[in-house]
Amino acid sequence: MTGNKAIPAAVSIRGLERRFGAIPVLRRIDLTVGRGECVAIFGPNGAGKSTLLRTLAGLLRADAGTVELFGLALPADAALRRRIGYLGHDAFLYRDLDASENLAYYGRLFGVRDPSRAAALLVEVGLERVASRRVGTFSRGMQQRLGLARALLHEPELLLLDEPLTGLDPEGAEVLSRILARLRYADVTVLMATHDIARALESATRAVILGRGQVAWDSGDAPPPDAAAMTVHYAMTAQYAETVSAR
């Protein structure tokens, strides 16, 4: 967490709550993420990782609490949405269009002026050879990569990734690591929900464990532990989260 009070934090969440129907999914999340941090969010299924990211992306509205991105309160207006990139479980791709057309469309949607960005990103994710193929013919891993390209197209300052490693082959995972390294250099804030502890910790500057809709553990300012220690933490906090919510 950057100590500089003058610059607003990239993400500032206080008391975030959210139910689906009657079932509470997020119960009081308090989290502050500074610019340039790469936060890996772990947690068992149902802990609320996706819900948290979707709320930040503007797809869900909070039932209670405040969320501020770069000091601006959600719900986000158009200008703020342009600064956020999101890759969810679905890649948001149109099957009947080819890769370049998909990127061209999203480029126009997000106001990307430079036509060469799409081509450059296709190279970066390793899809330049299939640029003219219908996305419907892509494998899951390829779609994931294209989705990543789409999320980065407009050079967001905040990148939200929901389980980006699922479906990626080792080569794809390498691509992701390289991109995350590049982004860290460019001071882009990244929040990444994932189950792959080892891979995530290669790129993360901070680790957070979500349990039953709350932050059960946060590595905070300290560098995150290595994979082995992390796994232990994870197991312990799974039980911790049970007791927290029972209170």
Partner: protein
């Protein structure tokens, strides 16, 4: 605010309804003179017209509550809208029913192209679809939002429906010419006012009851959700 409204209505309305209702019935059957052109069957008018008015009121409340719900996202407003539509539907049915009975006893036809009857039939359909939506979308947590949008569009549609039935009327012979008839006798006006009072008290009371039921059910659901998740 909903809470206060509900509490006051539940306190004030019940003691009023019975005496007013009896007074109204007495007035209609014993006090009011028989209308010249339509005869005895015209007496149904004293309960038909207030039913219609109160139905409009209920749907109006539904529309406003729905707007409030979309603005504030507070479940109470959604419950208020839901209750209002339920109650409104009841009175719409009464309006159509009494109108139909009146038409039959006065002119022998169960249905006419009368503008009021047709209007209420269309409104009945619109808000029936609201209730059906609430049933079909029960599992979807966005259901209250969809329902609110439907209620708003439905309510806003009301003037258009009235216009349309007037158009429609030009095709069908207008049988119920002048429901207000010859209101020469001031006693008729008083009887009508008493009926209005009864209906107003009744509709508010029923609304408050339904609202209370919905709110309790909602709170129960939340508690169950908390219990299941913990």
């Amino acid at each position: 605010m909903i809470d206060i409204l509900q509490r006051w209505i539940l306190r004030l309305a019940p003691p009023l309804v019975l005496p007013l209702g009896l007074a109204s019935l007495a007035a209609i059957f014993f006090w009011v003179p028989t209308e010249k052109t339509l005869g005895l069957s015209q007496r149904i008018f004293y309960w038909h017209v207030p039913a219609a008015t109160v139905c409009y009121l209920a749907f109006g409340i539904a529309g406003l509550s729905s707007i409030a719900y979309l603005r504030t996202r507070r479940a109470d407003w959604d419950h208020a809208a839901h209750a209002a539509v339920s109650v409104g539907m009841m009175f719409a049915t009464i309006t159509i029913g009494t109108g139909s009975i009146w038409a039959h006893t006065a002119w022998g036809a169960w249905w006419t192209g009368d503008s009021r009857l047709t209007t209420f039939l269309i409104l009945w359909l619109i808000f029936a679809s609201y209730l059906l939506l609430r049933i079909f979308a029960r599992d979807n947590e966005m259901a209250p939002r969809y329902a609110a949008v439907l209620a708003i569009v439905g309510t806003v549609n009301i003037p258009l429906v009235i216009m349309a039935t007037r158009l429609f009327r030009t095709i069908h012979p207008q049988v119920i010419n002048n429901p207000q008839g010859g209101i020469d006798d001031p006693r008729m006006v008083y009887a009508l006012l008493v009926s209005f009072a009864v209906y107003l008290a009744l509709v508010l009371w029923l609304w408050a009851l339904k609202l209370a039921q919905l709110r309790i059910a909602g709170r129960l659901e939340l508690l169950e959700g908390d219990r299941n998740a913990a």
